[in-house]
Amino acid sequence: MTSDRLLFDYLLRLADSDLVLAQRLGEWVGHGPVLEEDIALTNIGLDLLGQARLWFAYASEVEARFAGAGRSEDALAFLRDSGGFRNLLLVEQPNGDYAVTMARQFYFDVWHKLLLAALTGSRDARIAEVAAKAQKEVAYHVERSADWVIRLGDGTAESHARMQTAVDDLWTYTGEMFASDEADDVLAGEGIASDLSALAAPWRATVESVLTEATLAVPTSLFMQRGGRRGVHTEHLGHMLTTMQHLQRSYPGAQW
């Protein structure tokens, strides 16, 4: 693979996690526990969608370099099947109750913040630029999700039990965030991507400190699921995409 192909795939990994999580958060519209949360959560979804668009726009330009023409943002978002998606398994997991949504968000936000901080030093100026912009939004995301993990964990017996179940159930999807493959290694070697394994220790330190403050036990399971970043997904992604892509699939090229 040429390095442009690798870069294209890497940009999809960045974009797809943002897009899929944005869609999941969007599913809360009109269903939030209170009006204020409904607005806050979908704001975060929109932040992520905006970031996904920036990555897609760049991916499209990179694709044009080796494929002659790059697909549009819409084509990349709405006309790929689940096997073409490169997002983390974590973000495609269903919303569940509010504890599950917040645990998923918290695990992702802590990682996302560390990743973007590392990418601001990328030798690819465009990646560094997008990361710098996204970093500010994500600093708020992690503050909010950590806050909710602590509130629910250290809340009532019911909220504590639900929060513990949520952090335990999603734990198995966190290992994938730090597992690099050849594509990551090549791009990291060129100073374009970041070394994912280096994010593991600071991620764990933050997660442990928040879970402890939340009076929650840090999960100990060592088995980790993998596959999202090479297109092997859980059953949930396909179902989500049928809803997300329905309009473009039924009415190709439809516009507002």
Binding site: V34, L35, E36, E37, I39, A40, N43, E143, D147, R151
Partner: protein, 93 residues
Amino acid sequence: MNEWPLWEIFIRSQHGLAHKHVGSLHAPDAEMAIKNARDVYTRRNEGVSIWVVKSSEITATAPSEKQALFEPANSKVYRHPTFFPMPEEVKHI
């Protein structure tokens, strides 16, 4: 969630201007009220500073006191600084 108290939200739009009441929302505590206010009331770049005050902490005038409190000021036009001749050279007053 109905037991969450109501908070009044004040936002300062630019440096040098006073905080202005923009509305209210529910939140379990002050910290969360600030976060919710950020998401509900500053989405379009409205603010540089947020105050939150529990609605129950506000003491208000009663509508029934309106006459006694405000009407006496109606008949005292001399309290408005409109009776002083202004020198021509002075602008912007």
